[in-house]
């Protein structure tokens, strides 16, 4: 819970409080933006724009609401605006897939494999519609409840739940179309008979 005094100090134009607010929430904002975008291009610009919007609009924030929800909403709006602006032009910022594959830097196999899966997962997410991807990211990756997501996206809770349902269903269908995930599916299927399917001990830290 955000200390009210910090937000209030920001609302009164206290630059030091704004700096503190930035330091407190910057990683959450960057993480959400990265999850929504699936890559780090322009992340700095986006984080900066989010906090500029916060700085500009924080007087409109009412203390009955949760600051984190309000910040999520600002972040979501900035990222969506960025995506819309970027939609009409080709993207060259992301490293080609086969470059990552021949990367010679020493890395743990497991970590490399996980990164590859995460990239593939973001490619799948990218194929969802904007609205479905957004609620899926907020719910599954950010761990927000549908009620809070509804406040962030400005839709009824039922709509959020519906979008979540269809997002999952589409992702399940898309899984078959992502060749780099075929190995994972087979591996998990083979391990399905094992008592501990999740194998938490093998998870990288």
């Amino acid at each position: 819970m955000e200390p009210p005094s910090l937000v209030e100090r920001c609302q009164s134009g206290d630059a030091e409080a704004f700096r503190e607010l930035f330091r407190t929430h910057r990683q959450d904002v960057a993480r959400l933006a990265q999850r929504m975008l699936g890559r780090q291009t322009d992340l700095e610009d986006i984080v900066q724009e989010v906090f500029l919007q916060v700085h500009r609009s924080i007087r409109d924030f009412r203390h009955g609401a949760r600051f984190s929800t309000w910040l999520y909403r600002v972040t979501v709006n900035v990222v969506l605006m960025h995506r819309r602006a970027a939609k009409s032009r080709p993207v060259f910022g992301e490293a080609p897939e086969h470059v990552a594959a021949v990367d010679q830097r020493p890395r743990a196999d497991e970590q490399l494999e996980r990164q590859r899966r995460v990239h593939a997962f973001h490619r799948l997410l990218d194929r969802l519609s904007e609205k479905k991807r957004l609620v899926f990211v907020l719910h599954e990756l950010e761990g927000l409840a549908p009620g809070e997501i509804a406040k962030i996206v400005g839709s009824p809770v039922l709509t959020v739940r519906t979008r979540l349902f269809y997002a999952r269903r589409e992702l399940l269908a898309l899984l078959a179309e992502e060749p780099s995930l075929a190995g994972l599916a087979e591996e998990l299927t083979a391990a399905a008979s094992a008592p501990d399917d999740a194998s938490p001990a093998k998870e990288p830290a």
Binding site: F18, R23, D28, Q34, R117, V118, P179, L188
Partner: protein
Amino acid sequence: MNGKDPRETTLRRLVRDARAEPAPELDWARLEQRLLVEAGRRAVPAKRSRYPYAWGALAVAAAVVLWLLGTHPRAAVSPAPDASMEISGSLQQLADTDEVGTRYEATTREVTVRHVDRAKWTLDKGSSALLAGKGDVIRVRLERGSVLSEVVPNPKPETFVVEAAGVRVAVHGTVFRVALEGGRVLVDVREGTVGVGPLGDTPAFLLKAPAHGNFAADGRSGSIDGRWVSAGQAHPAGPPKPPPVRSASASASASPSAPATTGGALPVAPVASADLPSEPSINDIESGIARIVDKTSDCFARHTQSADGVQITVHTALSLQILADGAVTNVDFQPPLSPAAEACAAASMKQVRFAASKQGTTVTRLLELKK
């Protein structure tokens, strides 16, 4: 999610992996500094009232006073055509949300304007410029002073244009400065290549870094690194003489509709060496590169295996050298394509011939190839 379905298990695992990804590490100190300066700058304009009628009289009075004082602040979030943005701070201004017609003025210190993923340009102190276009081509209209532009390389030609007086400076991945001084337009190219010419016309001159151009306000004549030039002709020194035979690139510059490159069957017109431009014109290069990109895309599609329903996208940087006789050589892809696709692309590029020039040039383009 039900764990019994293997796809559900896979999806659950992917979600878990994605959640475990660490938060991105950015240069927080630099970002904080940027943010605080920009926040201070944006805090200067008055906040827009929700009750314009209630405050109307006060706003009008304030506007009149400000006008009389010679300052014209613009509401921070409502850029309108010909709105004026007086910026007394510095650092990053994101232009993606600004409307075409927004004016940027660097009154007391320099101002940097960013177009995410595409370009950024910095107005020197005392300069002003208008955002004249922001679609496929970003157009910046320099009204006074100078602007330093850094443009992200893009496979599309001429994605960024600076207009100054009657001069048009078009680029596709470079760093260059344009200045208005005493009715002349000065162009300094620090990286890459820019094309310069009259407004509304095709580029007549090609400046390759490092180069300095000094052009008349109509963009039809001037000097490049001390050599006098005029539209369609480049002269090593001294006043121009009528050319006995126009080079292929000069023809291309004069007639945009004419094909700038020649196929293998079409020979380059015999021209006296002294009449050749030092490099192919930017039109010639761009239309030739467009053909090369098409051929490379065909080769990639033909020689790349993919399963049904799977789309493969590859990003690669194509570098090639254009020889003085217009032939293409030293073709290189980084990262490389498959040997079959590269061999196919190299073979097809031999059919493309650019206009002859004195020294040729080298070209690099980022390609996005899909199968």
